[in-house]
């Protein structure tokens, strides 16, 4: 083992070779003393670990356990569900607008008149109702996606470290 190896072990508080070597090697002993002194100065220079009740309460509120959910906590997959729901919502709104009849060559305004029939479904609903119906479909699909993700996540590995915790 070289001088640096000895010093690294001695600095880490390992008894034996490192200490024996530094006892017989003046340059290592001198450097080791200087590094220990620096180490002590760093310990004393540590800023206080300040608490902040408001900040802590906010963090707890953000990730508090959810009653009824297995494991209790929000999972990373929630974000994907949110994205999926947002996409479906946007698609639903766009589809709702497209279904509305154009007036004088301009796109139709929302909630003006009734739609006699939506596509081939034969529904007679107002435009608001058409949009609401599409939103409900989007929510229902997002709910199903969430349930599937929850089922997968219960047996999933850590998303932060790819399942390797040690």
């Amino acid at each position: 083992m070289n001088h640096e190896g000895y010093m690294a072990r001695a600095l880490a508080g390992e008894a034996g070779e490192g200490k024996d070597h530094s006892a017989s090697c003046a340059s290592c002993r001198e450097e080791l003393e200087a590094l220990r002194s620096l180490e002590q100065a760093l310990v004393e220079a540590a800023p206080p670990a300040l608490g902040n009740d408001i900040w802590e309460a906010r963090v707890v509120a953000m990730a508090r356990p959810i009653p009824g959910r297995s494991g209790g906590y929000p999972k990373a997959s929630v974000r994907w569900s949110s994205l999926a729901a947002s996409f479906l919502l946007a698609a639903a709104l766009a589809a709702g607008l497209r279904l509305l009849p154009a007036q004088n060559g301009h796109p139709a305004q929302l909630a003006e008149t009734s739609i006699p029939a939506v596509g081939s479904l034969g529904w007679d609903v107002s435009r608001e109702n058409a949009t609401l119906a599409l939103l409900q479909v989007a929510e229902a699909v997002a709910g199903e996606v969430q349930e599937e993700e929850d089922g997968e996540a219960d047996g999933a590995e850590s998303p932060v470290f790819g399942g390797e915790n040690g």
Binding site: A8, L11, P47, A63, V160, N165, G166
Partner: protein, 181 residues
């Protein structure tokens, strides 16, 4: 690398809110201090500490207790901080202010001298490469064992000891260079 099983791990896994509150209370301050030491920006440190707890809860179901909760939390925070530091915008701001708590407020003369020395040390610490900075802060400020540090940095315990030695040597060299005329 199995360490003593945390008594509150089961409570946390079962979604015990009180246990989670205790966890945040116990580790929020040290995590923010660690992140501020790494990032130089107290506001960013707070944001990443918040993200650390969120990621922790999201990862809890897959956490097998192979390392301590403390190591696990610091590891998440460390990875978040390194990712943050890797961004170009942060690199541009690398030269700069000391972390939270480093500014000296008016105090008696002896305290001022002591505070001045501490600030010099913190500034020198900030000039180290992130990985060396991390190992020094984890050891001297956060009092982690080398086993825990190895877990945080995802390296072998011997490597963590070597990193620490070279980081202190590097720091000493920088301090001496700064005092030369």
């Amino acid at each position: 690398m199995r360490e003593d099983r945390e008594p509150w791990l089961d409570s946390l896994k079962s979604g015990d809110e009180a246990a989670y509150r205790d966890l945040v209370k116990a580790f929020a301050g040290p995590l923010k201090r660690y992140l501020a030491g790494l990032l130089r920006d107290p506001a960013e440190a707070e944001d990443l500490a918040q993200e650390t707890f969120l990621r922790f809860t999201q990862s809890l179901s897959g956490f097998r207790g192979d390392c301590s909760i403390r190591s696990f939390l610091y590891r998440i925070a460390h990875n978040l901080a390194l990712n943050h530091l890797a961004s170009a915008s942060v690199r541009r701001e690398e030269v700069g202010d000391p972390p939270e708590g480093a500014s000296s407020s008016p105090s008696p003369q002896a305290e001022a001298l002591r505070g001045q020395r501490a600030e010099t040390l913190r500034r020198a610490l900030l000039s180290l490469p992130p990985q060396q900075r991390a190992v020094v802060i984890l050891k001297t400020w956060e009092d982690l064992t080398f086993r825990e540090i190895a877990g945080v940095l995802s390296v072998a315990e011997g490597t963590a000891k070597a990193h620490y030695f070279f980081a202190l040597r590097n720091l000493r060299g920088r301090l001496e260079a700064a005092h030369e005329p």
